[in-house]
C-alpha cells in the first residue's frame, strides 16, 4: 500500500515514545532486593543524594566522584539496562551543556595545573556541572526504574506531599497512554487522507489539537462520573502500604552514612594519600 510521505515517521515516533514510557514501567516490575525496598525509603535516600551532590562548591570534582557508587549500586542490583539509561541521560544532556558551556569563557583564572597545563576555573566548573548532571539524572532514572512512577507518587503522598500534586501526577501518568494512542490514531487518520502535501498544514494541527482537547474534556467528564459511581466524594483514599522493614532501614542508614562521609571527607584524596604513603 502506498502511504503518504512522512506519515509512518510521525506514527512510529509517537509509538516509540509510548513504548519508552512503558519500558520504564516494565523495568519496575522486576523482583530484586532493590525493587522490594519501600518506595518511601528509596525516595528519601535519593532526595538526600541529590541535595548532597548539589551542595558542593562549584569547583568541586574529586569529592563528587565517590557518589557514583550509589547509582552504580542501584543499577547493578536492580538489574537495569545501563545502555538504555545512558541514552536517556544523553537525550537531556543538551540542557546541562547549555548551562555550563559559557563558564570556560567567563572564568579564565587558572586554578589547577595538570602536567604543566593550566586549567581555568571555567573548565573545572563546567566539568563539575556535567558530572553533577550525570550523577543526578542517572540516579533519578534509576529510582524510577527500580520503583515505578506510580509508587513514587504514592511515596510522595505518604511522605506528606500535597495530595492534589501527587494525584495529578498519577492521573497524568495513567491517561498519557490513552491520550497518546488517541493522538496517534487521529494523526494516522489524517495522514491516510492527505495527498501531495495537502492537508498537512499548521491549520490542521490546530483542528487536531482542538478535537483532542474536547475529547479529553469529555473523557474527564466520564471518568468523574465513573468515580462518583464508586463513592468518590472529593478525596481519593489511598491504600496504606506496610511499614518499612529491617532491609529498608539498613539501606537507609548505610547510604545516608556514606553520603555524610563522602560529603565531609575527600575520599579520593584520602585514598590517594594512603596509597602514596604505602609506596613510599
Amino acid at each position: 500500500m502506498l502511504l503518504p510521505f512522512n506519515c509512518e515517521d510521525i506514527i512510529s515516533k509517537i509509538e516509540s515514545t509510548l513504548f519508552n514510557l512503558g519500558y520504564m514501567d516494565l523495568l519496575s516490575y522486576q523482583d530484586t532486593p532493590v525493587h522490594r525496598l519501600d518506595s518511601r525509603i528509596k525516595l528519601i535516600v535519593t532526595l538526600c543524594f541529590l541535595l548532597t551532590v548539589i551542595s558542593f562548591d562549584r569547583y568541586e570534582i574529586s569529592m563528587l566522584i565517590p557518589f557514583i557508587f550509589y547509582p552504580i549500586y542501584i543499577i547493578a542490583s536492580a538489574n537495569l539496562p545501563v545502555a538504555y539509561l545512558f541514552k536517556k541521560v544523553l537525550y537531556v544532556s543538551p540542557f546541562a551543556l547549555m548551562i555550563g558551556i559559557f563558564n570556560p569563557f567567563f572564568d579564565d583564572k587558572i586554578i589547577i595545573t595538570v602536567f604543566g597545563i593550566g586549567i581555568t576555573g571555567g573548565w573545572v566548573s563546567f566539568f563539575s556541572i556535567m558530572l553533577r548532571f550525570v550523577l543526578t539524572v542517572t540516579t533519578v532514572l534509576a529510582l524510577i526504574g527500580c520503583t515505578g512512577f506510580n509508587n513514587i507518587c504514592y511515596a510522595m503522598n505518604r511522605l506528606g506531599a500535597p495530595k492534589v500534586f501527587s494525584i495529578q501526577l498519577m492521573f497524568l501518568y495513567r491517561y498519557i497512554f490513552v491520550l497518546a494512542e488517541e493522538t496517534a490514531r487521529v494523526v494516522r487518520a489524517r495522514n491516510l487522507r492527505s495527498f501531495n502535501g495537502k492537508g498537512k498544514g499548521v491549520k490542521i494541527y490546530g483542528a487536531i489539537a482542538g478535537s483532542l482537547l474536547i475529547r479529553t474534556i469529555n473523557r474527564a467528564q466520564r471518568i468523574h462520573y465513573a468515580m462518583i459511581c464508586r463513592g468518590f466524594n472529593g478525596d481519593i483514599k489511598i491504600f496504606k502500604s506496610n511499614n518499612p522493614g529491617v532491609a529498608d532501614i539498613a539501606f537507609f542508614i548505610i547510604w545516608i552514612f556514606l553520603f555524610i562521609v563522602f560529603r565531609i571527607f575527600n575520599v579520593p584524596e584520602l585514598i590517594g594519600g594512603s596509597v602514596l604513603r604505602l609506596i613510599q
Partner: protein, 251 residues
C-alpha cells in the same frame, strides 16, 4: 426482598437542548432478573442507564431503586447498591494499578484496610484475574480491562449490576468468557447492548426502546423472534436466529 426492585413510573427526561430523550418510561424489574435494554443509537438507552444510579435525577415521573426514590439526597445510597460498568473500560479504570482500582470503591465506603485487601483478592478471584492484581491498568488487554472493570464494581457488593455495552470491542473468545462469567452472577442485571446474541444467552427479558419510549417489554425469545418489531426499532434478529447464508435455509 424489596431492596432489589427497580420501579419506574412515567419517567421523562428532556436534555437542555430540547432533545426528548425519555418519554413516559414505566417498568418494574424484580430481584434477580436479567433484563436487556435494546434499541437503535439515540433511542435513550444511555440516558435511562444514567438515571439508574442517580447521575441524572428524574424530571417528571418517579424511579425507585429498592427502598429509595432516586433523588439528589438518596444518590449516595443508590450508588451503593447499583454497580455501573461503563462501555469504555479506560474511563472506569482510572487508578494506576488493578489493585488500587478495585480497592477504590471499598476504600470510599470506609472499610478497614484489611477488609479492603481481602475484598479485592476475593473479587479478582471471582472474576478469574487474581494474577493481574499488581499490573498497571493501562497495560491490560481489552478483555482483561473489561473483566477488571466488572471487578471494580463487584468489590462494592452491589445488588444490581448495570452494564453499558459489556461485549463491545471484545474478541469472540473474550466475549464468550465474559458471557459465561456474567451467567454465574446472581445479581439483578440490566444490560444495554446491541449484541442480541448475548441477550439470547443471558437475559430472559428484553425491553426495546425507540425514540425515548418503551415499545416492547417481554420474554426475550418472543421479542428477538419478532422480525417486524425489531425492524421497526432499527434492529435485526440475532444472527443465530437468522437463516444460514451458505446452505440457503430460510429462518
Amino acid at each position: 426482598m424489596s431492596h432489589h426492585i427497580i420501579q419506574s413510573h412515567g419517567l421523562c427526561y428532556t436534555y437542555p437542548d430540547g432533545n426528548k430523550a425519555l418519554r413516559e418510561i414505566s417498568f418494574l424489574i424484580t430481584h434477580g432478573e436479567s433484563v436487556a435494554i435494546i434499541g437503535a443509537n439515540g433511542a435513550g438507552k444511555s440516558t435511562l442507564l444514567m438515571h439508574l444510579n442517580g447521575h441524572i435525577i428524574p424530571q417528571t415521573g418517579t424511579l425507585r431503586i429498592g427502598d429509595y426514590p432516586v433523588s439528589k439526597e438518596t444518590a449516595h445510597h443508590i450508588r451503593r447498591s447499583v454497580g455501573m460498568v461503563f462501555q469504555d473500560s479506560d474511563d472506569q479504570l482510572f487508578m494506576p494499578t488493578v489493585f488500587d482500582d478495585v480497592a477504590f470503591g471499598p476504600l470510599n465506603l470506609d472499610f478497614p484496610h484489611e477488609e479492603v485487601e481481602e475484598r479485592v483478592r476475593k473479587t479478582l478471584e471471582t472474576v478469574g484475574v487474581l494474577h493481574l492484581i499488581n499490573r498497571p491498568t493501562h497495560r491490560l488487554s481489552g478483555g482483561e480491562k473489561r473483566t477488571v472493570a466488572i471487578a471494580t464494581v463487584l468489590s462494592m457488593t452491589p445488588d444490581i449490576l448495570v452494564m453499558d455495552e459489556p461485549t463491545s470491542s471484545l474478541d469472540p473468545r473474550s466475549r464468550r468468557r465474559l458471557i459465561e462469567l456474567l451467567k454465574t452472577f446472581h445479581h439483578t442485571k440490566i444490560i444495554a447492548t446491541h449484541d442480541l446474541d448475548m441477550v439470547f444467552d443471558l437475559c430472559e427479558r428484553t425491553i426495546i426502546m425507540n425514540e425515548g419510549a418503551i415499545i416492547a417489554d417481554g420474554n426475550s425469545s418472543d421479542i428477538l423472534n419478532n422480525k417486524e418489531l425489531l425492524k421497526k426499532s432499527g434492529l435485526e434478529k440475532p444472527l443465530r436466529l437468522q437463516g444460514c447464508p451458505v446452505c440457503g435455509t430460510e429462518e
